[in-house]
Amino acid sequence: MYYGIKFGALFIVVLLLQVLLFNNLDLNIYISPFVYIAFVMLLPMEMASIYVLLLGLVMGVVMDVSMLTMGVNTMASLFTAYFRAFILDISIGKELVRDGGVPSMQRLGIVRMLRYSILFCLLHCIIFFSLETLSVEFVYITILQIILTSIVSVLLVFFVSIAFQHKPILRL
């Protein structure tokens, strides 16, 4: 129940951030920050993979509707949601994954958390931009888009994860 409220809040916060702020930034074609990735990324590690997949689907569809991208977001977030367990295993290690909990810097240490965020964002961006372009003609642009957007997204996701883990000073 507690998790439910907490992740419901996270869902709404990253959704609003993405739709109202980052979708409107329009910096250039190379950088389009994805902050909504953080939602699937920060789901508890012990969560059944079917729920992760379904939540990824919901987030992707909402993003497609708001960005008018016709399925690209859905495909990318389904992909990352499905391979999340695998990414967790190779970036964090099976031991820590088995312990469960929300992936965070305190729990995993900065190196593992960074490795996890980078892999996650990179995978998402690779799927997103290669599907959006759907051609090899502009492959250099696509690679540049993937790299630059991944860097910015990793920073954003990291920031969200820190804010999400922050213990409120006033406990109710």
Binding site: L25, L68, G71, Y82
Partner: protein, 263 residues
């Protein structure tokens, strides 16, 4: 689990691949009511802060129009035998606001706060208030319209170089929100940096002579044809108020052209 993943992924891919630039707008009615109304709310706040600039533009517009009026009054006096056929106007203008616009995607779209109810139709040209090409309407719902932006890989139109009159197709290469490409200009054409690019009369969407941009650079492609890099006049990142232009003779013209294309 794997099966579910594959089914969902294939469904999304199917939806993506089968959506042409026109059917893409089917999503619009769904996202309209929620997203568009949200955007019209937030862009209302933004518009408030742009009022000052807006006013200046409008004032200069009014001055221009007044001058125009004076001139035409003068010419009517001079040649009172000429008949002005007001009922046969070719182009009808409507003003509207952009409530959502992206420039960083490969396929950028523009959402406009007027729809079928306001007489907006598909294939109406979208021109910025200062008279530069921005895009054209691809789909309308009752109170909103979706336009394809100049900055969309699916955008196709034609342009001509002002002084010399050479023309060719224009498209966006997906690189920068400030440039588009005018291609297939013959190698013997006279091109100078700074030449203005206009819309052509071949277009069934744009009135001829609407400004698009100016020549920034040009290079020979396969030593046969020039690719001209055009710097857009419209600031695609800041455009807010637009004019929608309806071409009254579109149906008639299309019917005539199609008659011979089908033979």
């Amino acid at each position: 689990m794997l099966l579910l993943f594959i089914i969902l992924e294939v469904a999304a891919l199917h939806f993506y691949v089968n959506s042409s630039s026109y059917t893409k707008a089917i999503l619009l009615p769904i996202s309209n009511e929620v997203v568009a109304s949200f955007y019209s709310c937030t862009s209302g706040i933004e518009a408030y802060f742009n009022l000052q600039k807006e006013n200046e533009v409008l004032t200069s517009e009014i001055i221009d129009l007044k001058n125009e009026l004076e001139r035409s009054r003068l010419s009517v006096q001079l040649s009172d035998t000429s008949v002005v056929a007001f009922d046969s106007v070719e182009y009808v203008y409507t003003s509207a606001n952009i409530i959502n616009n992206t420039i960083s995607r490969q396929k950028n779209y523009i959402t406009i706060d007027k729809g079928k109810r306001d007489g907006i139709e598909e294939n109406m040209a979208i021109v910025s208030i200062d008279g530069f090409v921005v895009g054209y309407v691809v789909e309308c719902s009752d109170s909103f319209s979706l336009g394809i932006s100049l900055l969309n890989r699916d955008f196709k139109s034609s342009g001509q170089i002002g002084k010399s009159g050479w023309y060719g197709p224009i498209y966006w290469d997906g690189m920068s929100h400030e440039n588009i490409v005018l291609s297939d200009i013959p190698r013997y054409a006279q091109i100078n940096r700074g030449d203005t690019i206009y819309t052509t009369s071949f277009s069934s969407i744009y009135p001829p002579g609407i400004m698009i941009g100016s020549v920034e650079s040009f290079e020979l492609k396969e030593s046969l044809l020039f690719d001209v890099k055009v710097k857009l006049f419209a600031d695609m990142a800041a455009v807010r108020r637009v004019l929608l232009v309806k071409y009254n003779n579109l149906e008639e013209r299309k019917a005539l052209e199609e008659k011979y294309n089908n033979i």
